[in-house]
Symmetry: none
Subunit: 414 residues, 2 copies
């Protein structure tokens, strides 16, 4: 069972937009046992779209197109698809209603262009878009299936999750594919590969391992595939995951789709504990991560972003003398910050960060990327220093993740 992905839009071909839709679709298709044999990005151009459809359907059973469904004149996908599949465009009254409701909820009224978006090929299955006005479409031609999705990532993902995944599972007899992912922190990729080499080479043939690194986190994904017994595969995979865990123990902080900020939230909530933050160089990233979790207000009380030294003193009770003697990026200051916000907001825990994100502000002693992180609890204050390198954006990200890891470790131990 093979698929191809076609992304339509000039913005990708001029390099203005990085095509993340294809990576999402490729990941999801692989998860349900559909291999992707090619991804093509092509122009908003009739001939080009027609050729690409022909070429792709010569190789694959399923072709998924994204993009080109907007209401503007450079979006020509729908008309070209209608031509390819010999369709009449018909206004679909149900779609008009759903677009009207969607727009009304946003305080916008229906206009002519929106009505145009409800004109859909008569011979497709509509894949409703609950997040936008461009509908998904599913066609069948000569035994091959073709899907068209909007290019806005959020809308494309919504249709995948709410409609398309289910549909594909109904349409095709798919092999069983299972994944177990271990989320690890603290062991770099090449060291990890050495550490688990013996286990990896002894894996059964139908199991495969992938290394998925991202800043601060390395995911190890075991993929298993069977045409026969689903339950047997589940058992086998669990056993292999346990063996892997035994090798790398404390580096594993979660499984599958777990997120660090969700794990921390659960630990705090379950133990009726509260948290506050004091951020300098991370400038709100830690609190933004924490509050991305629904229900965060149950344990996260708030924070101080102390970007200036004045505010470190006035709001967090950092001693001006300590600041003068040690500088803002120092163990003494970051510990006072954590202690200060914890006392002020009366929380069980507080995390504080002070560092040099860059690109300027570094010295020989404290180069760009130097970051102090402290954790204060009702019992004690811990702190650590890091150097995350010289990229501002990655320094901020890595410092925020490192701060959350310190908290998670403390919550696990106490």
């Amino acid at each position: 069972m093979n698929a191809e992905i076609i992304t339509i839009g000039d913005e990708i071909l001029i390099g203005q937009v990085v095509d993340t839709n294809s990576a999402f679709l490729a990941t999801e298709l692989n998860k349900i046992g559909i291999s992707v044999c090619q991804i093509s990005s092509i122009r908003d151009n009739r001939e080009h779209i027609l050729t690409a459809l022909d070429e792709a359907s010569a190789r694959a059973d399923l072709i998924i197109c994204t993009g080109g469904l907007g209401p503007t004149s450079d979006d020509i996908t729908k008309h070209t698809l209608a031509e390819y599949f010999g369709s009449r465009l018909e206004v679909n009254p149900y779609v008009i209603d759903s677009i009207r409701m969607l727009l009304e909820a946003r305080g916008v009224s229906l206009n002519e262009r929106n009505i145009k978006q409800a004109e859909l090929p008569h011979n497709c299955d509509i894949l409703p878009n609950s997040a936008g006005t461009a509908q998904g479409m599913l066609f069948e031609k000569e035994g091959k299936f073709f899907v068209s999705l909007p290019g806005v990532p959020f809308e494309m993902k919504t249709i995948w999750c709410e409609e398309l995944e289910k549909k594909l599972k109904e349409l095709f007899p798919l092999p069983a594919i299972q994944h177990i992912t271990l989320l690890t922190h603290g062991i770099p990729e090449s060291k990890m590969a050495d550490l688990i080499h013996d286990w990896e080479v002894s894996l059964p043939q139908n199991l495969k391992l992938a290394y998925l690194p991202s800043p601060g986190i390395l995911r190890l994904r075991i993929t298993g595939r069977t045409e026969q017994n689903d339950a047997e595969l589940t058992l086998l995979m669990k056993q292999e995951a346990e063996k892997l865990k035994a090798k790398i123990g404390s580096a594993v902080f979660g499984m599958d789709d777990d997120k660090l900020e969700v794990i921390i939230g659960k630990l705090l909530k379950d133990n009726n504990l509260s948290l506050s933050t004091a951020e300098s160089c991370t400038g709100g990233w830690i609190s933004a991560l924490l509050t991305s979790v629904p229900g965060a207000s149950m344990y996260y009380k708030g924070g101080i972003i102390a970007y200036s030294n004045e505010i470190k003193t006035s709001e967090l009770n950092v001693s001006p003398y300590t600041l003068m003697m040690n500088g803002a990026v120092s163990q003494a200051v970051v510990e006072q910050m954590a202690d200060g916000v914890r006392n002020k907001f009366n929380t069980d825990y507080a995390i504080a960060v002070s560092g040099i994100a860059g690109p300027t502000g570094g010295t020989d002693d404290k180069p760009v990327g130097t970051v102090w992180i402290a954790l204060a609890s009702r019992k004690r204050i811990l702190s650590n220093v890091y150097n995350f390198g010289d990229d501002r954006g990655r320094n901020i990200q890595k410092a925020a993740i490192a701060a959350l890891f310190i908290l998670q470790k403390e919550l696990m131990c106490s």
Copy 2:
């Protein structure tokens, strides 16, 4: 003059890696006047590579492949290219020397795998790689040019900058391509299309418009192309951009690669003004955006994340009575938050946000997505209410961007 890009590697087709190489190459090719007509990602597979080369060279004059040049057994690009171009592989003594020097500088000595990498097709131009062991290659066949580059982004970029760009300019007579992008806020895509329809259809033939939407921001990109007079095109494009601006005036907040948080930073810095923030539902996103800009500490003093009502009262001086009578998501509370943080941090401006990010917490009166935003200056306090819909992540993003727009507008007017 058309080009196609082929990225070779299974990791892209399983969604493990987002293909950023293509976006880089597409940007650079367009800059020098080479249009990219297709980008394809294909497997590490001999037949697939051969077919892709045939298909691409039927459409384009230049084909650039990346990936598959590593020393491991799944990297088969070089042998497949040698087959396609009828080449013998020969060890190149100059390349051996350069690989040896590169490795010695890293404290590593040459091994057999490295020597294999110096085996190159006898009938290609070598594009030396000063950043790694896999060399770039340039072939000519039946009047078409083919380039093969390593897949490691840093090495690919090094070869582009040091070798390939220069080479392509020598090989081809290139047209000039220019882009002007207007960044707009506040007019949805379909309304914008109506508003500028007359202007759009009257554009000269060599100019094209594209709509590039993202949460809260719509970019309008004019692309111009000429085979003749570069300066004339520049003038023509400026004139058309001015006409467009005249139509949508205040919706335009920046040009080309401008970022809202950078524009605001510049306005504050140039006028020696300071800013603080008080965030509830955005939970630190606004401050994270502001502090993503290098040098933000010159104007951004800090902020309070007041996730709980207690903290709204204790830190921002919001009246408990106002909170009780109006609820936290209300005009009165958000105005007190803005005023409170501005007074506390003694800044010229302050922005405050209070809303219901979701997924729970909505009521009939105040559904999920209801967000109040206030701006306080030394002169006055402004506030607005929004409804951003029902997705938590997007509510937070959109609220943060809307808050920055209110500030930008005020800074422009004062």
